[in-house]
Amino acid sequence: MNTEIWTERYRPKTFDELVGQEEIVKRIKNLTNSLNIPHLLFTGPAGTGKSSLALIIVKELFGDKWRENYLELNASDERGIDVIRQKVKDFARTRSLSQVSFKVIFLDEADALTREAQQALRRTMENFTNTCRFILSCNYSSKIIDPIQSRCAVFRFRLLEKKDIEKIIKRIAESENLEIQEESIDILYEASEGDCRRVINLLQATSSISPRITTELINTVVSQAKPSDIKIVLEYALSGDFQNAREKLLDIMLKESISGQDVIKAIQKEIWNLNIEPELKVKLTEKTGEIEFRLVEGSDEFIQLEALLASFVIAGHGKM
């Protein structure tokens, strides 16, 4: 397929093209060759090859006919388990038209489902077990209920290592005629946090500015993408300018769709870098914890964060 989006253009098409996860690939390859797979559970961080491997499996199993025999669902985007069940039902009604006797359903981000929804999913899996195989993927297997785990062969994906990421970058650079320095690879790897999708996106975003991928260029792109600026919010507050602090905070939260809890995390980390007395750091961290507790409990994110900013205002006066 001809696509301009690099994550798709360079998505591995065969087992051998998949980078990293060698052990898993070996086992899956054997299963696929037998033309019969059990339900599978892929667990691991984002961008480590879970969806890619699922796609390779169906392409190996069904060849050209993979599209008719494959249903991809995303639990975090579907509206509830009932919608998922209906889609599964509709899809499973017709029998597979190939030498393989089942169809494959890939349910991504299955850990987004509540425990109740997972119970329902488990029954669905049982009801259609003759005609369908499920491949579930999730970030944390601990969030998947035991009855589902016990019905699946579980595969744990690990973060990509630097050599894996490097391999991917070099392959793309060669094919897209990019000029790339060693240091740039280091920076890309760091920014990717072992997430292959992220590294490819970063590379493409950077190359859209220039095919000469320099460290400066990457840093510009990365800094744009960071839920940055929390520091600026705190600095406004410490200087006593509450109005600007909250204005900026609202801006960040709304424009970048960052949740209150993500903001709290960033604030908690940022406290260490502030130029204030250690005692105040302790008090502010304690306050931050209290506010995080209130957010978890379901209070208004913005009002609670404003209250926290007010604490920074008086901390700026050296009090608290």
Partner: protein, 386 residues
């Protein structure tokens, strides 16, 4: 005669939008004297007094009315209601005693309140009490003795129908969308809506019908909270404002930094954020008693944050955060629809795409990708804006 008097409902069937309250009033009358008093609770203009008058008409009763100003003291209450409740009416069989706006009784009239409570035990006739709010402690005795019926704010569609009917009968030529806008702006208050109707002619534009005097009201209240030292009265400040405590919380949030700085700001936000914690608990657990704490923190707590009385004029602003969020959500609409197309093409989720949007936006500068994802004009415009 004002239109509100002219069109005051005379019978139950004239009262719109309060069917369940009417049923409960009928139930109360049927079971009288099991409970001897009925409290009609509701916002201004929801039909509390009308309901009492309609009840009198429907039961062929004489109505004896007392309002807050009559209930000055024990003697007066005893004289008017006490006598009336013992005697039989001359011409009509029945009587209904109406105590209007009981929450207008101030603390100084607590003798009157006690007397009323005693009377409920003695009376031979049903006593109807109307109130906007009776959750104050001083009413606890009264609440125990009386049946409580809550009147809902009237839906604007019903108010619209009422206005339309009156406009027709009065041969007023007023456009329907103007009537609708009066109905919406009345905030569920039929009386206010009818008064507005009387106040306009066909030239009036929408903007001239303000959200009644709510705003002036809240401005004065904010001034008292932010500028005066706390007193016992501070606790009751919000009773006079026709906004919910949750709305008041937003007004306080918006304007607090205009008045309070430094330590005062800190203390005020302590109170505000704790009030918000109680707000959340009320919503989750439906434990309405927490309203007391929410109110306390927002009034007394907020006023206590200051060191001394403040003077001078502060230009308070209406809460802008909710509006901002709404506007941004409108814009985010395109972000979401773009993310949906992108997610589908790349085997990922909308959620994750939105999280990574700053980078993905860079990638989507590529015309070919825009074509590939079949982005529409609005979506492309959104991308170009940023």
């Amino acid at each position: 005669m004002t239109l509100t008097e002219k069109y005051r409902p005379k019978r139950f069937s004239d009262i719109k939008g309060q069917n369940s309250a009417i049923e409960r009033v009928l139930f109360f009358i049927k079971n009288f004297p099991k409970k001897k008093a009925l409290i009609l609770l509701g916002h201004a203009g929801t039909g509390k007094s009308s309901l009492a008058y309609a009840l009198a008409n429907e039961t062929n009763s004489e109505i004896i009315e007392l309002n807050a100003s009559d209930l000055r003291n024990k003697e007066q209450v005893a004289r008017i209601i006490g006598q009336a409740s013992k005697q039989q009416s001359l011409f009509r069989k029945n009587k209904v005693l109406l105590v209007d706006e009981v929450d207008g009784i101030s603390r100084d009239d607590s003798g009157g309140l006690q007397e009323l409570t005693k009377l409920i035990q003695k009376t031979n006739f049903p006593i109807i009490i109307t109130a906007n709010d009776i959750w104050h402690k001083k009413f606890s005795g009264l609440r125990r003795k009386a049946e409580l019926v809550q009147l809902e704010k009237i839906d604007y569609k019903i108010i619209f129908e009422i206005l339309k009917e009156i406009a027709e009968k009065e041969s007023l030529e007023i456009k329907e969308d103007l009537l609708k806008s009066i109905a919406i702006k009345s905030g569920g208050d039929v009386r206010a809506a009818i008064n507005d109707l009387q106040g306009i002619d066909s030239e009036t534009s929408h903007d001239e019908i303000h959200e009644r005097d709510k705003e002036e009201n809240i401005f004065n209240t904010l001034k008292q909270v932010f500028q005066q030292l706390p007193t016992k009265e501070t606790l009751f400040l919000y009773d006079k404002v026709s906004l919910s405590l949750d709305e008041i919380l937003l007004w306080l949030e918006e304007n607090l930094p205009l008045e309070y700085k430094g330590e005062e700001l800190y203390k005020a936000f302590q109170a505000l954020s704790k009030a918000d914690v109680f707000r959340g608990r009320i919503h989750r657990q439906q434990h309405w008693r927490f309203l007391i704490y929410q109110n306390f923190l927002l009034s007394y707590g907020m006023a206590t944050a200051k060191r001394q009385v403040k003077i001078g004029f502060t230009k308070y602003k209406r809460p802008s955060r909710i509006l901002k969020i709404w506007h941004l959500n409108q814009k985010q609409k395109y972000k979401k629809s773009i993310a949906k197309k992108y997610a589908k093409a790349t085997h990922t989720s909308i959620k994750r795409t939105i999280k990574e949007f700053p980078i993905i936006r860079e990638i989507m500068k590529n015309e070919k990708i825009r074509e590939e994802l079949k982005l529409d004009e609005k979506e492309i415009e959104f991308l170009n804006q940023h």
